[in-house]
């Protein structure tokens, strides 16, 4: 082994010698090592200006933002709100006591309790200037409500995509949530990470400081050494953005460290965005990543982002595509006069066996078209979802068949959301 040890003494601007305490250590086994002084930092400079540095938190840019740089570091899918297979706007959203995906893919809107007013949800083109975004997710209140109830949107994340966070171990990673947000209503808003496998959560209060102004928010959540995520395709982690908090979620003290879930401590201090018909919120650039700082938003190519969304939702036809009457979307055969077994190709394996939503679909067995009444007995293989497409009657047994759009507003959707 060859080892070289250098201790550098340099003259600073005031003429004092000082010890950089920088050790350059090289050997044939471990390569070149640079060790910092007691400050714990090593800076890389160009023309006297710091361009990057190594700190206890890892490699950072000059402003202290992490330079993770790794591909797919964003745990949030479609954080730039570019994909909206279901449509770009839905008006008249009222509380049905449930949850729903309506416009922008992977972002679920939810509410419960008493009526939370009426809302329009949309994929909007209002974005922060100069940040490279084309779309945002917008909620616009059209009928106000001051009744008790909650209002939120969230993204739910599969456990098998979260294993590298090492949650539930002594090496649990911190997570940083960053996003751009704009609203007319200033004040305190709550973001939450919710562990569904272990019934744990952590909340953070952030402030929208200026009305009608895009602001970037960065929130770091400590690692959680308790409760591992299941390594499966189930719903393990929710990244939640509150718009209104019910009394049941806000009557305690905000829980700002990982703990077993106490509902009263989840959304304390949240403003009520439903209290005026002028209220709205836009959000984009949502990123959740390992580490204690936010890296630049990871812009993925459109086709990559679309395919990631299609693991959870596949839309064939209106409004995502423009169908023409008679266009074929799958082929199969007729085992009985009331059913055709058809394979519809999919771009990726879906998270689970999908549910089927459709409108204006028909089966054609060469001689006749029959309207689809239900879809059953399904299974997916790589690149294909096969199912029984049921009709009232009229098909000819043992004929080949194809599945068709019956109108320009026809669609077929495969749903395996979390």
């Amino acid at each position: 082994m060859i080892q070289v040890l250098l201790l550098l003494f340099l003259l600073d601007n005031d003429g004092w010698y000082y010890n950089m305490a920088t050790i350059i250590n090289a050997d044939t086994s471990n390569g070149l090592e640079l060790t910092s002084d007691t400050s714990g930092e090593i800076e890389l400079q160009s023309a006297g200006v710091t361009k990057a540095k190594v700190t206890a938190n890892g490699l950072q840019d000059a402003n202290g933002n992490p330079l993770h740089g790794g591909s797919y570091r964003n745990l949030i899918i479609n954080g730039d709100m570019n994909i909206a297979q279901r449509g770009t706007s839905l008006t008249g959203m009222t509380n049905s006591g449930g949850t729903s995906y309506q416009t922008v893919d992977r972002f679920m809107f939810g509410g419960s309790g008493s009526p939370f007013g009426t809302w329009t949800q949309s994929q909007d083109t209002d974005v922060p200037t100069g940040q490279g975004f084309a779309n945002s997710f917008k909620m616009q209140c059209t009928t106000s409500s001051t009744d008790d109830g909650q209002l939120l949107f969230q993204q739910r994340i599969e456990g098998q995509n979260l294993q590298y966070i090492k949650k539930g171990t002594s090496n649990a990673e911190s997570l940083t949530l960053s996003f751009w947000v704009k609203s007319n209503k200033t004040g305190t808003y709550i973001a939450e990470l919710k562990d569904n496998d272990n019934t744990r959560q952590i909340s953070y209060a952030y402030t929208i400081d200026s009305s009608d102004t895009w602001e970037k928010k960065t929130i770091t959540f400590a690692g959680d050494t308790t409760g591992t995520f299941d390594n499966d395709n189930g719903r393990s982690l929710d990244a939640v953005f509150y718009l209104k908090a019910s009394i049941a979620l806000s009557s305690g003290t905000l829980n700002t460290s990982w703990n077993s879930t106490v509902n009263a401590n989840r959304a304390v201090g949240q403003v009520n965005l439903a209290d005026s018909t002028s209220n709205y919120i836009n959000i984009t650039g949502v990123q959740l990543e390992v580490g204690e700082g936010a890296s630049d938003f990871e812009h993925l190519p459109y086709d990559v982002q679309l395919q990631r969304c299609q693991r959870y939702y596949n839309r064939f036809g209106y409004p995502f595509q423009t169908p023409s009457t008679g266009r074929r979307i799958g082929a199969g055969q007729v085992p009985a006069t009331t059913v055709g077994i058809v394979c519809v190709p999919t771009p990726t394996t879906m998270r689970a066996e999908p549910s089927f939503d459709w409108s204006n679909l028909s089966l054609n067995d060469v001689t006749t078209n029959q309207t689809i009444t239900s879809i059953s007995t399904s299974y997916q293989t790589h690149g294909c979802v096969t199912a029984n497409y049921n009709v009232a009657s009229g098909l000819t047994r043992d004929q080949p068949c194809n599945l068709r759009f019956s109108s320009t507003s026809a669609y077929l959707a495969f749903i395996s959301e979390l």
Partner: protein, 51 residues
Amino acid sequence: MYKLINNIETQEADTVQRLSDNVCIPFDPSNIDYQEYLEWLSEGNTPEEAE
């Protein structure tokens, strides 16, 4: 409300149709629509029989 749909070969239900929006739901424990159906059943409800 839900309605069962039979497999034409086995004549046993393997799908349920949600009548509010006609979405057809496979019997897959990982499917959240199916999970909601199971919760609905656990509340003492009964689906319509298959035709």
